[in-house]
Symmetry: C2
Subunit: 488 residues, 2 copies
């Protein structure tokens, strides 16, 4: 995200929305950790309609640990103080030390004791349902994500301006500077490190590098230390170079049957990183280097909108054509929707209303329609543009992060367009999400549900789930709600 | 497999087993291809007990297309002619051209029209539920597997001694010789090829090479062409060299946090390949080079039996120690059981009864107990030795191949030990397998079920499922049943 306040156009018409409050209970322990038994949820109450002219009830999204709310407010301006806006960091990747009765909005210092350790530092992300560390591998992108979350919250949300949060972010950033590169002379990050920081795995992708760039840039902003920002630029320059010159993956030997292609996540991550590094700086403004990178990445992203602008395809040729076979037909609704809100941010910063509409209609609403799994509800992890069966074994599972991204996207779309239909879609996603993903007993969201929403994996974190999508989404939703409620 | 007749010790005591006959029906089409709707199965009849002294009823395992049976027989010798032993090739990877009413035991020439094509040749493995090709990628290991199946059946099963089968195998083998190596000077096989044979992907593993070796050796035996056998040896030598010298994967740059480790599938594939290439040849006999490789691979495989010989771990250190974290605790019951029957073959060939017992008790029965998913039934794809939640999203899915391997393993164990308890376990696995995996409408087995046995993916073939586990298992079961029924 390039900004903590992505624009504030006014309310443009009649708006009715409702907040929902959910409470989970009775999650029976399963015979195997990760069984299909699920929490049973009980809707506690539905608050009243929120009209365009007067806020008649709190707008509140609540899950037992994570709570995003604005206690009371009225338009314009409102009376709700930031102190009533609650975004509990404690569920980001840490559960055990934070009982669900912890004072909302407080940062529990026990967090650091669990997720960092003194010598090599860094964060664990492999956490069982109750927060126990089940594996000490440190995934570089998870490190970068958690540093970014901590530093951004410290810098942007007054109630998180706590020294221990910044200190944890700094320790994570220093760990990345020390250990992320297996070869200090080459700006290639490892994918996974041992607890002591030795490189255990390197991937042929640019994601670790992008998350190092995001983390260190935000840490630089939070600390005022320019060294971090310089390191961030170096990481982003490496990722950009590989994305442009070796699109199939840095270091991957060329093969005659593997022509250059583009995975949606690559320009998406470059756009997001360039928005972050360029925000409020000269080279992030029109004509600047980072602005050019933003424009290039946005243009590359738009190549994924295919089939008469009705389908976002996960992979396209370098020329922006559909690829043959399963790879070419693959759709990942979560990625498309996540790219959508990034494209919307970029379009609004450029004042390009056509691009904003394309971001909303093409990258959010289209994939939300196509990827929503009726009648089970929720977003499919993958689907095939021709309706064939994907080969990804998890294709019909419901993963936490696409739902987190959809919450952000739909609020961002509403903040821009003020179309009540967008809030209704937001409510649909929020109802599904807050009914099914939060763990009422140990906090945090579950990450992986089966197609029927039964629990597939009980882990709270792992190689792919860490302290990122949930806190980023709730933080952004809070910012967007503040903007919506404050405007026009 | 080293032999089409893995030994024939006699019946050693009272044995009672029952064959089961299953019929599937009413598989409703799903709203999305790959929906969770499943065939409903109906048990047709249970045949009577098979006693040790007189066969009182047919021993028969039947699913709508695949049928493995011995129509009538009596001990010793029996009267069942091979013509009554039915192993229908048509379900191996080919569905569309073979209606379920096709004469059992016939090889349908339409097969080749579907799975091969004239110019570059090779086999498609990406087949939808009805046999339609949904992706033209040719996976090298799938090519090797299909060539092996065709050549082995041609060579060993009289009713499959059909020229068109050998011709298809030869075309597949020639395709591998022409296209499997992206660089003809280096014996590294590609993982995936385009339809025209150009290399699309290379993996840092030895599995493609091992399946090339298996395919070409069997093709050499079927055709009498020594060139194929020489190529097979070259592939196996490359795989052996990498397994010994670069255990973490050929071409993978060393990393300080990635010490040498061993994945169970590597010595398993080397053992299986060395059994294949060494069978009936001087260097496969005691003291020969391939016999030494068999012994080395078997010894390496046994390192995976850990925790007081109670758990087969999927990865161990090169010294045979348990690795830390999730990787170290990971168990794959299918792999353990598959390794079990290979170790049993090897132990019986060496006359090592202690090793045979270890193969049965440690590699088959232990993993079958630990990996059997009560009360849902079926083998888990993965589980954790400490009962924690695995990070593999498909951990609780039921995959076709572990069940196919378990059928082989339990019959092989019974053929060796003649313990009725082994036949009861066989029946348990067979009931689950033939109830749930075969597709009564289009033939062939489904590959991927959810934990509750609902259908997860409707594809019949893909990057990992081809013409191999099902026909190999049924062929081996037929051989083993013949041995059991003929003995002592």
């Amino acid at each position: 995200m390039s900004s903590s306040r992505p624009g504030s156009p006014g309310v443009q018409g009649g708006v009715a929305t409702r907040g929902v409050v959910w409470s989970g209970s009775n999650h029976a322990p399963s015979p195997r950790d990760g069984s299909t038994q699920r929490p049973r949820w009980r809707r506690r109450r539905r608050v009243r309609a929120l009209g365009p002219d007067r806020v008649r009830a709190p707008l509140q999204l609540r899950c037992p640990l994570w709570t995003l709310s604005r206690g009371s407010c009225s338009r314009p301006g409102g009376t709700g103080s930031p102190a009533n806006s609650i975004l509990s960091l404690t569920s980001g990747s840490v559960i055990r030390t934070t009982p669900s009765t912890a004072p909302e909005g407080t940062f529990n210092p026990g967090v650091r004791a669990l997720t960092t350790h003194p010598a090599p530092s860094g964060f664990f992300s492999c956490l069982s349902r109750d927060g126990t560390v089940y594996d000490e591998t440190k995934y570089v992108w998870m490190q970068g994500r958690q540093v970014w979350v901590y530093a951004r919250l410290y810098r942007s949300v007054p109630r998180f301006r706590r020294p221990e949060l910044l200190e944890a972010a700094r320790a994570g950033g220093e760990f990345l500077l020390r250990c992320a590169r297996p070869d200090p002379r080459v700006p290639k990050a490892a994918f996974a490190l041992l607890r002591d920081g030795r490189a255990a795995k390197v991937q042929r992708s640019v994601f670790s590098e992008c998350f190092c760039a995001l983390a260190l840039d935000e840490l630089g902003r939070a600390t005022g230390n320019a060294c971090y920002e310089a390191a961030a630029r170096e990481w982003l320059e490496a990722a950009e170079r590989w994305a442009r010159e070796e699109p199939n993956g840095p270091g991957r030997p060329p093969l005659p049957g593997d022509p250059p292609r583009q995975a949606l996540a690559v320009p998406m991550m470059l756009l997001y990183s360039a928005l972050q590094l360029g925000h409020g700086r000269p080279d992030g403004s029109a004509g600047g280097r980072l602005a050019s990178l933003q424009d290039w990445a946005a243009q590359r992203l738009r190549l994924h909108l295919q089939r008469g602008r009705t389908a976002v395809l996960e992979h396209v040729s370098q020329d922006g054509l559909e690829l043959p076979g399963s790879l070419g037909r693959l759709q990942n609704p979560g990625h498309a929707i996540e790219a959508g809100w990034m494209l919307l941010l970029h379009a609004r910063a450029r004042g390009d209303m056509a691009a904003a509409d394309e971001a909303i209609d093409g990258f959010m609403l289209g994939p939300l329609d196509a990827g929503w799994d009726s009648p089970h509800g929720g977003l499919l992890a993958f689907h095939d543009a021709d309706g064939l069966c994907p080969t990804q074994l998890e294709w019909a599972m419901k993963l936490w992060w696409p739902h987190a991204e959809a919450l952000v996207a739909l609020l961002a779309a509403f903040a821009h367009r003020r179309d009540p239909a967008l809030l209704r879609r937001f409510e649909q996603v929020a109802e599904f999400t807050f009914q099914r993903f939060p763990d009422p007993e140990h906090g945090e969201w579950f990450g992986y549900l089966n197609r029927d929403s039964s629990l597939a994996l009980s882990i709270k974190g792992g190689p792919f789930k860490g302290c990122f999508h949930v806190p980023r989404a709730l933080y952004m939703c809070e910012e967007l709600l503040n903007e919506i409620l404050a405007g026009p």
